[in-house]
Structures are given as structure tokens and as C-alpha cells.
């Protein structure tokens, strides 16, 4: 039996929950939310620290509180949720194949679809580390789940490779729980995570951060017994003679996140080489008509507020697409990275709404900068540009009416 719905949302983290709420509030009658876990909320459930929703709700929530607020809002809408439901396939004709103990094998035909599957943790750099492969090597997010959801400590003497936000958060969390965090080692010469996390998670607990350092060997037979740390040169190669042996029982990897796009690929959605997520317009529509995307499956965002903002847009425009009221009379134009821009999102402008651009700088600039969006030639000033803090700028729709191919975005020193 094929079920038919107006809007199907895949994933119930902050992006999916917000998208489902907005799809309903924008008039979509049959909205279905699919979640592979036992409960709604996604990764927020294990992010027990505060700092969520400062911008969106003007509140300092923890992850679970933020999730519960959205879940309560969703419950009021009457949107149907299928839990324990794993989506296994997605076609460009918007047919979803899914499996669930309760509903069995499912086929769902949706007028529009919102992808909100989130991201995965990178492990790539760790695979290249010479040495043994004992127990005790975890990604930071997996360790976070062990501690905060399952209630046990993954190790007692911990080295953290990479200074992504989850690694920083786990340095604090593990210290509080009685583990000794020896240090955070970052291959780049600037930290990966937010400055406030460096202060509140490392400095507050006297955990040292070593920039331009990496792990060059893992030691141990059954369990991690230690690692070798080396300095790296300006081309990120380990410098011979700088090796230092450190005894530890656990190595955490916090080396970045990557959008989870197994389903997007199956549907033939065009992906961006820079964000590794679908190429979208400001309405969050992908290259496949009627399939929208939001949150960390589209690009890895720094703040949950940004994730929710893309979720709101995706839900709203998915509802409009489902009701047939989304016009497509103008061809979208490309938005391309100019000077000092490593990546940007969205990558196309479809003339439907204001353009909210998320930009990641390639190199840090610790002085006032001008962000230029041209055409139309809008100039927006910011106090600084840092690769570890996404810039967000808004260009009103009216200004973009005459935009021509391509729109170029640059970050320039003032």
C-alpha cells in the first residue's frame, strides 16, 4: 500500500522538528515526520550543555530543553510521527521507502519532501594514523552519547585530537565526571571550535590546547596505551624530532562533521563540493524539484539557531510546493565564492524570498571586514571574519530583483 502525504520530513532533530511545525503552520494538511530512533529530538538529546536558542528564543536552553520545547510545539499541530522508522530509499519522484517494526515496509508518496538527516562525524584523518587499532578510540559524539545517554565513562586518561566544538564540550564533560583530559591537539594553527567553548570548556578546567600539533602514532594492544604527538609545519606535515609520547587509555576524535547524504545521492540530488550537502536555493529546494533540505544535512552550521532558521524556510516552502503555490517563473542564478570565502550556503538564488547567506571565511581576519554580495553590490560590515564562526548576512529580495548570473560573495578587509 502506498501512503500519500503532502509533506514528508525525514529526521526529527532541530531542523526536522522546525520544518514539520512550519510546514503545518503554512497550511500543509498531511505532514508526516519520520524518525529512525525511539524518540524525537535527534542529537539535541545528548547535548546536555547550555547555550542553545540564545538567538531564537532569547533563552539559554540545554539541548534537551530546546528539543522538548520544539516537541511540545509539534504536538500541538497534530503532525503524525513515525518513530523507529528507517528510511532506506528515496526517489527523484518523491517516493520514500522505509522500514518500521510497527508499520512494516512502507512506501510513501509525498508532494514534497524535507531532508533533515543531520550529519556524521568525520573519521578520515584518524584512519591515516600509523600504529595499532586497540579499543579506546572514539569520535567525540559517540563518547558524548556514552556519557550523557547511556551513563558510563569511556575512559580515564583522555587525549583529544581536533578542536571541534564537540571535542571541547567533551573535554569539560569528561573532566567533570572524573576523567583526566591531558590535552586537545589541533593540526591547524587556529582552533576549530567557537572561542567561547575554548574559554568555558578548556581554560575553565585547565585543559591545554596545542595548536599545530597532531597524533602521529597510536600505541596499545587490547586497549589504547598511549599516543605519539608531533608538531606540524606550515604545510601540516609532522616535523621530525618533535615527537612526544603520551600515556592515555582513550583517544577522542573531534575532526569535523560531514552532511549525511546517502539518501540525497539515491534521489540524484546535486551536491556541493564545498559544503558536501545538496546545492539549494534560498527556499531550501534542492536540484530535484519538490525535495527540500535543511540543517546539518545541507551544510554543517555552528549554531542550532541557524539550523532552525533553515528548517523554518524548508518547511514553509515545502508546504507551498505541495499546494502548488510555489512559482518557478525565473531560473535560479548561481551564488559563487569570491575572495576569502571557503564555503557558502545556499548556492543558488531563486527570486522567491530574501537571501539569507551563511558564509565561512577561508582565512581569519581579526579586523573589520566588508562582505560584498555582487550583483547587486550589497556591502555588509562585520567586526571580524573567523573560519570557526560562520557569518550570516541578509540581502532583501527587492535588492536582488535584477541579480544576474553569477552572484559573487567576497570578504574584504575594510
Amino acid at each position: 500500500m502506498i501512503r500519500e502525504v503532502d509533506v514528508a520530513v525525514i529526521g526529527s532533530g532541530p531542523a526536522g522538528l522546525t520544518a514539520a511545525i512550519h510546514a503545518h503552520n503554512s497550511g500543509a494538511r498531511k505532514v508526516l515526520l519520520l524518525e529512525r530512533e525511539e524518540e524525537l529530538g535527534g542529537i539535541l538529546k545528548q547535548c546536555i550543555h547550555n547555550g542553545f536558542g540564545l538567538e531564537q528564543f532569547k533563552q539559554d536552553y540545554t539541548g534537551p530543553e530546546y528539543a522538548e520545547r520544539l516537541i511540545k510545539e509539534l504536538e500541538k499541530t497534530g503532525v503524525q510521527c513515525f518513530l523507529n522508522t528507517l528510511v532506506t530509499d528515496l526517489s527523484s519522484e518523491r517516493v520514500i521507502t522505509a522500514l518500521s517494526p510497527e508499520h512494516g515496509a512502507l512506501e510513501i508518496k509525498a508532494k514534497s519532501i524535507v531532508l533533515a538527516m543531520g550529519c556524521r562525524e568525520r573519521t578520515g584523518p584518524s584512519i591515516g594514523i600509523p600504529g595499532t587499532r586497540p579499543a579506546g578510540i572514539f569520535t567525540a559524539g559517540v563518547a558524548q552519547r556514552f556519557v550523557n545517554i547511556d551513563g558510563y565513562l569511556p575512559g580515564k586518561k583522555v587525549v583529544i585530537l581536533g578542536s571541534g566544538d564537540i571535542g571541547l564540550i567533551m573535554a569539560r564533560r569528561l573532566t567533570l565526571e572524573g576523567a583526566r583530559v591531558i590535552g586537545v591537539y589541533e593540526i591547524m594553527n587556529y582552533p576549530g571550535g567557537l572561542k567561547r567553548n575554548i574559554v568555558q570548556c578548556l581554560n575553565d578546567f585547565d585543559v591545554p590546547l596545542h595548536l599545530s600539533h597532531t597524533v602521529t602514532e597510536i600505541r596499545g594492544k587490547e586497549r589504547v596505551g598511549g599516543v605519539v604527538i608531533s608538531k606540524v609545519d606550515s604545510s601540516l606535515h609532522p616535523v621530525q624530532g618533535t615527537e612526544k609520547s603520551i600515556e592515555c587509555d582513550t583517544l577522542l576524535l573531534s575532526v569535523g562533521l560531514i552532511p549525511e547524504n546517502e539518501l540525497s545521492k539515491k534521489a540524484g540530488i546535486e551536491l556541493s563540493g564545498a559544503t558536501k550537502g545538496p546545492i539549494t536555493t534560498e527556499t531550501m529546494e534542492t536540484s530535484v524539484p519538490g525535495i527540500f533540505t535543511c540543517g546539518n544535512v545541507s551544510a554543517v552550521f555552528d549554531l542550532v539557531d541557524y539550523v532552525a532558521q533553515t528548517g523554518a524556510a524548508a518547511g514553509t516552502f515545502a508546504a507551498r510546493y505541495a499546494s502548488g503555490s510555489l512559482s518557478a517563473d525565473r531560473r535560479p542564478v548561481d551564488i559563487v565564492a569570491g575572495e576569502n570565502v571557503r564555503l557558502l550556503f545556499p548556492q543558488r538564488y531563486g527570486f522567491q524570498d530574501d537571501l539569507v547567506l551563511f558564509i565561512r571565511a577561508a582565512e581569519p581576519v581579526e579586523k573589520p571586514v566588508t562582505i560584498e554580495v555582487a550583483p547587486p553590490g550589497s556591502k555588509i560590515n562585520r567586526l571580524y571574519a573567523r573560519p570557526n564562526e560562520m557569518l550570516r548576512v541578509k540581502v532583501p529580495k527587492e535588492k536582488l530583483a535584477e541579480a544576474k548570473q553569477p552572484i559573487k560573495v567576497s570578504i574584504m578587509e575594510k
Partner: protein, 123 residues
Amino acid sequence: MAAEKKHFVCVVCPIGCEIDVVYDGSEIISMEGNKCEKSEEFVRQELIGPMRILTTTVRIQGSRLPVIPVRTDKSVPKRLFPRMMKQLRRIKLQAPVNMLDVVARDVLHTGANIIATRTMLRE
């Protein structure tokens, strides 16, 4: 007490001003690097004794999961974190627990309560 130079990174907002302060043990002699007055208040508190929200988990019985996330309902002195963690390790809750339920009152006489940050049903 002789005047001392201290360095702070303000965490009031995402800018993260790097602030250099000269402090004589009771008064701020000079302060450089902050872009607004809010960081002045932040630095003053950091000098007296840093205050933070503590977020952690406590044990729970009768629910699907063995631990439930909690936090202090206001900032508490950071130096009390180890003692608070020790005290919280002794707590064992019974499901159901609702979000914002008080788990422990006036912990270590700080005036702060420990509250649950999610709902956990009985299963």
C-alpha cells in the same frame, strides 16, 4: 597587594573580546580590549570568582535510560563544581520525572536548585 596584569576572553557574546586588566586585588586599575560595558561586569565577576551554570546527569530508575540530564537553575561558583558533582553522584531518581522538576534544593548553600532538563517517563 601589588597590581597584577590579567588576561580574559569575554564570553558574554560571540565576539569574544580579548581583555587585558590591571588589578590590585580589590580594584580594576585599567582595562583594555573590550568593545562594550557588559564585559566590564563579566571581568569584575571573573576577578571575584567565576560563576557558571553546571550541566551534568544523575542516575534514574524505572525509565528506558539509566541517566537523566540536569543543570543548576542559576549560575554557581565554578570552584564548587567538583563538590557538586560528588553530591550529585549520590542521587538516584525514580521515573517519571518532568522537565524543570527540582532534583536537589539549595545545593551546597548556593541558593541554586538542580533541575531536570528533560522529561523521562516510567517504562
